[in-house]
Amino acid sequence: MSLTMAQLAVFLTLLSSVAALVFVKKPRFMINVSFFLLGLSGLVAVSAGGMALLGNQVEQTILPVGLPWLHVCLHIDALAAFFLFIVGFVTFVASCYGPSYISRHADDGAHAVSTLTFFTGLFVAGMYLVLLAADAFSFMIAWELMSVASYFLVAYQHDRAENRSAAFIYLLMAVVGGAFILLAYGVLAAFGDGFSFVSMAKAHLSPTWATIAFALAFIGFGLKAGIVPLHVWLPQAHPVAPSHISALMSGVMLKVAVYGFIRFVYDLLGGVQWQWGVLVLLVGAISALMGVLYALMQHDLKRLLAYHSVENIGIIYIGLGLSMIFAATDHKEVAAIALVAALYHCLNHALFKSLLFLGAGAVLEQSGQHNMEHMGGLIKKMPVTAACFLIGCVSICALPPFNGFVSEWLIYQAALQGTVLKNGILGTALPITSAMLALTGALAIACFVKVYGVVFLGLPRTEKIEEAHEVPRGMQFSQIVLAISCLVFGIFPTWTANVLNVIPQKLLGAGFAGVNGESWLWLTPINTQTASYGALPVLIGLLVSWVVVYFFLHPPTRDNSIRIAPAWDCGFGPLNARMQYTATSFAMPIRKIFSFAWHVSEKVEPARIGKGPHYFLHVSDWVWMYVYAPIGKIIHKVAERTARIQGGDLRIYLCYSFFTLLFLLWVIV
């Protein structure tokens, strides 16, 4: 049943693509139809995932396509269902957002928009299919479909050269990642006969080969998930896509990569080794820290958010690493906590990152630019967006009582069980990573204070901001939905964790006991004495105290009117927008303190006649400078050398074949 619905969802997405082609001539109508179908598919996927997850169903079916001896095999289980839920939900929201967002593109030629909707459909279909695939072949097809379709979405606004190069780098790294994944599957297939997941799960690998397979999968899926140092495509590709696509890519596609990793390591490979866990843990911690540090230095709003995706993927990987370590050392309950934490964070990040990207899209549409330094004061122009964006910021900063906090809290709880480990390396790895996680969280707060303060608060920095106004209903609606769900998943963690608990039960053979402990109010991973978090009571406490204080301070006996007056300007004439702190100046102290993390080039041009002083700041990515750029150079050099064999001289060409012949004769005789 749930699988049938999932297939229906896929069908609907494909239908929306078809609609994009059919109604090419009538763009506005096409947009509505195709986004309606997309949203419908999202709902269907949500319900399919929900059913399968709550009912903990496992279904399988075989479609009469694919290789003659290996037909496409689809399945759905708790893990796939959970991610299907996420994908479906964000798809639904994005397709509520999309129409009014891209209708402005309807003017620049019908083809452009139909391209966008066409590939959006394929992209979502690809993600669904990745989750449903039950054999390596169809998995790879779906995976690459996802990559290619999203490539066309990234390249959508292809007039600007940097968008093109971003798309190129994105696709290139997608290709490399796909190759690694293919290899990983190939290793499994070579040991256990056949490409179906069932037979792969049966494969018996020697520890060495298992580690090789793991490394391949780690790199392959990591390239898509965007862990440091494989993240360079992410901050380039995500910002240039239209915002609802960025939401889908950043909020969902990265999760699909995480799904692939979990599926491969826990389900297919099995026999987790603790060294893998340590690797995942450390890479995750580094990704989290570097992600937030780079995010702090950005002033392109969407690029900043993209770097935060790197950070959050890092947090998810920390959770996975912990669970792998505990699973390998046979502490299944703790492993379950960590795994649930990771999954929970997948859900949360999908919610608040989509929310933030949609909000960013609204802001971009109104302010007409990506650069935060030219925004400001938008909270008065677009209150709804501002409110939702605020909720998004609070959630991503992992502040109670919103959802981001729950998952990080669970990760901390899992990390604090590190004392049960007998291994010194692990014992030290855990605290270090939790320290980095703590640092990450604190820096994230700094970063989002900067974002919100610079974009929404203070004085408008350009005239365009002055005539900004609230976005259309559809865009508001989707943001509100996401904001509410951020709160809901924040204050009902016990319920969520209970539902998620079936996944570790399936993958590890044990869920965590304490979750359905004393009361549904208390989220208690182990037991109440050890740790507990009552999200709803905290929220109620906050509300109550606010209300009490409010009435205490507003006695009816006194007039509580407020006098509006200009802000105090130290007597230097009125305040203007150029006086307030910019994003750059706000982040300056942190830039000074963590100067090791970036390659900062700073230049001050003194004032000259007719020209005021200028300050140039360029913060660039170490990884790009010292890993990727050199590779490009090397390839160029090698190509230059190799080109000499095509020198244009006929007789030399003949020499090649002549000496090849002689050589071969000499070899065989």
Partner: protein, 488 residues
């Protein structure tokens, strides 16, 4: 039987007739008509073979089995679609005065002649005739390469002629050696080169001679396949000739040469009893694959670039045949189809693109999607297909090939993957600016006929999603013939 002779007759007659009337306005239609005839005949032949198995003509001159029947069908098909494309293309070339009546006649006649030689090479049972036909294919195309009579085209034609001539002579020497070896085991002076006879006695033929013979054949036919370092003629010939010719060169000739090579490998393997032939082919394949991939980064001419990608893919197929084993062989056979479909489609598109931009220089072709969406998208999608993205068929074959490699030679996968990534980067860094962005003003409006491309890409897509049973059966039988066991 009738179908077989019809398949050969149509292009032959077409060559003769068009040699007389090739300059007429209606010549392009006549051209298409003959191709249609050949295609229908080939289709009937295929049905015949499918229903009652391999056909051996009386006189034993022709032999159709699962290995060559699908290639014959493919040739007839690609020939047909290319002829459809070549109509408007060539008349535009004539309008802008690049070719005159005489050369139009030459072009049309040689087009059919080339198809004839290809079909003959595929359908013959006599390895000597196989050589004759492939040499004849060189002769028919050499004047097409230099059709434009520019310095470059003459140069390309001359290099093509000399290098392939010299190479193919080595193939002849190899054939003589095979004949020599067979003469020891096979009674009857005339049957000594008949495939049907040879394959029965392959195991008893002399080891040393067959080894020598295979080396000569590898160098000889390898030159035609375009294996590095014997490939140098290929980019020149592909880039300088008229585009329809590049399409069939890349789509058909290379395939046929590889077909010949594999036939001889099937003889050499039982005779040698070791993996020598396979190893040689793997070595050449890998070398061609990597060199072509890296050279994609130095391209300035769009057709040259795609001819290098042809070298890369031929290298891949050679490598796959070299590995042997059912999975790899099946993949290689499939790759022959999808590559020739995709590559000919790409060359057709490239032809349109270069006519639109009025040049073949990559840096001057810009913003195709804006100026002519059909061409731009076809180019982009075709490149995606050839780069091995699903759901296109190239992905399927490469998937099979890689997994087979992992099974038998795990460490060889790394160069393959590196090569793949490098080649991909080389292709896309050139393609993106051509299709994306704003078009320059001086682009011309040309009559484009993209149906061949759409059909080809649709077929490749279909093969990527599901391989029809008929084809699967043929490929499987061919695999059984080549390596002794199938995948189904």
């Amino acid at each position: 039987m009738i179908a077989l002779y019809a398949t050969l007759f149509f292009p032959f007659a077409g060559a003769l007739l068009l040699g007389l009337i090739g300059h007429w306005k209606s010549a392009k239609h006549v051209n298409i008509v003959f191709c249609v005839g050949a295609f229908i005949a080939a289709g009937m032949l295929a049905l015949d073979v499918f229903s009652n198995g391999p056909i051996l003509s009386d006189g034993k001159l022709f032999y159709i089995d699962a290995f060559n029947v699908y290639l014959i069908l493919l040739n007839a098909f690609v020939g047909l679609t290319t002829s459809i494309f070549s109509g408007p293309y060539m008349s535009h070339e004539r309008d802008i005065g690049r070719v005159g009546d005489k050369r139009m006649r030459l072009y049309h006649s040689m087009f059919q002649g080339f198809l004839f030689t290809m079909l003959a090479a595929l359908s013959t049972n006599n390895l000597g005739i196989l050589w004759v036909a492939i040499e004849a294919a060189t002769l028919t195309t050499v004047l097409l390469v230099s059709l434009y009579r520019t310095h470059e085209s003459i140069e390309a034609g001359w290099k093509y002629f000399i290098i392939c001539g010299v190479g193919i002579s080595q193939a002849l020497f190899g054939t003589i050696l095979v004949y020599f070896a067979s003469a020891k085991v096979i009674p009857g002076h005339e049957d000594g080169l008949l495939w049907t006879v040879l394959q029965l006695h392959a195991a008893n033929m002399d080891k040393g001679v067959m080894a020598l013979a295979f080396v000569f054949l590898l160098v000889g036919y390898g030159t035609k396949v375009g294996l590095v370092p014997l490939h140098n003629w290929l980019p020149d010939a592909h880039s300088e000739g008229p585009t329809p010719m590049s399409a069939i060169l890349s789509g058909l000739l290379l395939n046929v040469a590889l077909y010949a090579l594999v036939r001889f490998k099937m003889l050499a393997d039982p005779a040698l009893g070791n993996h020598l032939a396979g190893n040689l082919m793997m070595g050449f394949g890998l070398l061609s694959f990597s060199v072509a991939g890296i050279l994609l980064h130095r391209q300035y001419d769009i057709k040259r670039m795609f001819s290098y990608s042809s070298i890369e893919h031929m290298g891949l197929m050679t490598f796959a045949f070299g590995i042997g084993g059912p999975l790899a062989t099946f993949g290689a056979l499939l790759h022959m189809i999808v590559h020739s479909l995709t590559k000919s489609a790409i060359f057709v598109t490239v032809g349109q693109a270069s006519q639109i931009a009025g040049t073949q220089v990559i840096s001057k072709i810009r913003g195709l999607i804006r100026s002519n969406p059909a061409v731009g998208w076809s180019l982009l999608l075709g490149t995606c297909a050839i780069a091995g993205f699903p759901p296109f068929g190239v992905f399927t074959s490469e998937f099979l090939l890689f997994t087979a490699t992992i099974k038998s030679y795990p460490w060889l996968v790394l160069p393959l993957l590196v090569g793949l990534a490098v080649a991909f980067a080389g292709l896309f860094r050139n393609i993106q600016p051509m299709v994306f962005g704003e078009p320059p003003e001086d682009q011309r409006k040309v009559p484009v006929n993209m149906w061949p491309v759409f059909i080809h890409l649709a077929l490749v897509l279909w093969l990527g999603l599901a391989i029809p049973t008929v084809l699967a059966q043929w490929l499987n039988q061919a695999t059984i013939m080549i390596v002794g066991q199938g995948v189904l």
